[in-house]
Amino acid sequence: MNAAAADMPHRPWLGATKRLSALGPILALLALISIGSLLSDSFLSAGNLSNLLTRSAIVGIIAIGATYVITAGGLDLSVGSMSALIAGLVIMGMNAAGSSLGDSWLVVLIGIVLALALGVVAGTLNGILVVKGGIDAFIVTLGTMGIFRSVITWLSDGGSISLSSSLKGVARPLYYGSVAGVSYPLIAMIFLAVGAELVLRRARIGRHVTAIGSNPEVARYSAIRVHRVRILTYVFQGVCVALATMIYVPRLGAATPSTGLLWELEAIAAVIIGGTALKGGFGRIWGSIVGVLILGLIDNILNLTALASPYLNGAFQGIIIIIAVYLQKGRREV
C-alpha cells in the first residue's frame, strides 16, 4: 500500500538519513510537545502528562498487538468491537462473581483471567478464519467486528452494562492507581511494549513473524509453521485487547455499544505512524507507542488550546498525521 515508497529505488546505503528516518516519529512527537507547551501553559504540567500517558495506555496496548499482526502481513479491524464485547462479558462475569465472593481482589483477578480467556478465543477465531479459511484478513475482521459489536449491543440491550458500584471501588486502582507517580496502565504498557519489542527482535517467534510478513514463501520454504505463527499473532492481538479492556473497565465501570468505537483505526494509524510497514515484514513496537502518543497529543492539545472552531479539530488531526508520517518517509527518500 505504501505505493510511492515501492516505486522508489532501494537506496540502502543512505545510512545516515535512514537513521534520521527512524527518528521520524520521535521528531514528530517532539515537535508536537513543543507546540503544545508553547500554546498552553498547562500542557507540560505533571497532571496533564500523567492523564495523557495513562489514557494512551489503552489504545497503546492494543497497538502493540496490532504491530505484530501487521508485521506478519495481516490486519485486524475487530479490536474495538472485541474490546467492547470483552468489557461487557467481563463486567457481567465480575458482577456474578462479586455477588458470591464479595468485593474482593479475587473478583478482579477472575475478571482479568476471564478477559484473557475471551481475548484468546476471539483472537483464535480471527486467526483460524484467516489462515484455515483462506479468507482475506480485511474481510474476516470486518465480519467479526460486526459480529462482536452486535453481540455487545444485544447483551446490553443498547444500553450499558455496569460494574456493580462496590466492585468499581475495588477495581478502580487498575486504572487510577500508581507507583511513584507512574500509573499502573502506563507501567503495564511499558512492560508489555518492552517485552513485545524484545520478542519481536530477539525471540524465534518474533523473527518468524517478521519473516512471514516479509515473504510468506520463504517462511514456508524454511520449514516455519507459517499458519501457526500467523494464528498466534491474532491470538496475541486478542490478549492485548483483553489487557487494554481490563484497564478500560475500571475507568468508567461500564461497557456500552459505543465502547471502543474506531479504536481499530486509531491503532492501525498509530502503528503506521510509528514506521511499521502496512504490507508487513517490518515492525517496531516503540514506534507504535510513539504513534499512539502522537494521536493522543493531538487531541489533548486541541482540547487545551482553543485553536479554531472545534469543528475543525478533525482537519488538524488529519494534517498533523500526514506531516508526522511525511517526516519519516520524506527523509527516507531524499
Binding site: 444500553g159 450499558s160 487510577y176 468508567l252 455499544p257 459505543s258 482540547n303
Partner: protein, 290 residues
C-alpha cells in the same frame, strides 16, 4: 393484519441505545396485545441508510410508519412518498422539513432542553460562575440546544470558559473533562449535554480531586443519573428529562390507531422538565438499560 414499520437511528450512543431498547420492549408488548399486527424495526447509522430503510419498509407494504428522523431534510422526501402511498406517518422527536406530512408527532423540546440547562446554572450560581460545556455529535439538535443554552445565559454572570465536542460518549466525556481540568484552575460547573458524557466527566472530576466541588449537569434522564439525583448527596443534583422513552407513546398511539381506527392525530409534545430530588421518583425507571 396490518404492518407497522419503525425506523430509528442505530445505537451509536447511550441515548439511541435506550431508544432501541424502548422500541424493542414496546413492540413486544404491543405484539402481545395485538397479535395480528406485525412490526418491522429498522435501525440506521446515517440519514442515507435511513432513507433506504424507509424505502424498504414501504416496499414491504406497511400501513403505518413510526420514524425518528436522523435529519429532517433528507427524510422529508421519502416520508412524503410513503404518505402518498397511504401510509400513516408518526414522527418522533424531530419534525420533517415540510409541514403537514405527519399524521402524528410525538416530540421532545430541544430548545427547552438548552433553556432549562441555562436556567439551572443561573439559579445555581446567582453570583456568577465559570462553566465548561461538552457538546454532542455535530448535528442540528446539538446546535439547537447549545444555541438556546447560550441565549439563556446571555446577560447572566455565568461565563462559559470553553466548549468541546464529547459526542454524547462517556469515554470522550472523560478525556475532554480531564483536559478542561488541566486547562482551567477554576471551574465551577460543567454542562455535559448528556448523561453519558456526564458520567465520564464525573470520573475525571473525582480523579482530579479538586478542593471545591464542581457541579455537573447532564441531560436526557439516564436511570443511573436519575438515581443519583434521587439519592442526593453526590455531585449531581439535577438532570434534564429528555428520555428515549418518548418512542413509547409514539408506537402505542400508532398501534392503537392501526388496531382500532381511532381518530388519532395531532402533536404530542413531551416537556423537558428539570429533574431534581423532589420529582426524581417520577422519572426513575430502574429496569431500563439507559
Amino acid at each position: 393484519g396490518k404492518t407497522i414499520g419503525i425506523s430509528i437511528p442505530a445505537a451509536t450512543h447511550g441515548w439511541t441505545g435506550g431508544l432501541n431498547f424502548q422500541t424493542k420492549r414496546t413492540v413486544e408488548q404491543m405484539k402481545k396485545a395485538f397479535p395480528d399486527i406485525e412490526f418491522v424495526v429498522a435501525a440506521a447509522n446515517d440519514a442515507s441508510k435511513q432513507v433506504n430503510d424507509v424505502e424498504d419498509l414501504v416496499a414491504r407494504g406497511i400501513d403505518a410508519l413510526v420514524i425518528l428522523p436522523f435529519e429532517s431534510e433528507p427524510l422529508t422526501e421519502p416520508v412524503k412518498q410513503a404518505k402518498a402511498q397511504g401510509v400513516f406517518i408518526t414522527t418522533v422527536d424531530r419534525g420533517l422539513a415540510e409541514e403537514g406530512i405527519e399524521d402524528l408527532y410525538v416530540g421532545g423540546n430541544n430548545p427547552q432542553y438548552g433553556v432549562i440547562a441555562g436556567q439551572y446554572f443561573k439559579k445555581k450560581f446567582p453570583d456568577g460562575a465559570k462553566i465548561v460545556v461538552m457538546r454532542g455529535i455535530p448535528t442540528t439538535i446539538d446546535n439547537v440546544r447549545i444555541d438556546a443554552f447560550k441565549k439563556e445565559l446571555e446577560g447572566s454572570k455565568v461565563q462559559i470558559l470553553d466548549m468541546q465536542f464529547a459526542n454524547w460518549n462517556p469515554d470522550k466525556g472523560f478525556e475532554v473533562m480531564q483536559d478542561f481540568l488541566q486547562k482551567f484552575d477554576a471551574i465551577d460547573g460543567v454542562w455535559a449535554g448528556d448523561d453519558d458524557a456526564a458520567l465520564g466527566a464525573m470520573e475525571a472530576i473525582k480523579q482530579a480531586n479538586r478542593p471545591k466541588p464542581i457541579v455537573v449537569l447532564g441531560g436526557s434522564g439516564m436511570n443511573k443519573v436519575v438515581k443519583m439525583v434521587k439519592d442526593g448527596g453526590g455531585a449531581v443534583d439535577a438532570d434534564i428529562f429528555y428520555p428515549p422513552t418518548l418512542i413509547i407513546p409514539a408506537i402505542e398511539l400508532t398501534t392503537m390507531r392501526a388496531a382500532t381506527q381511532a381518530p388519532i392525530r395531532g402533536r404530542y409534545i413531551l416537556d423537558s422538565p428539570l429533574i431534581t430530588k423532589d420529582n426524581a421518583e417520577e422519572f426513575y425507571f430502574p429496569d431500563s438499560p439507559y
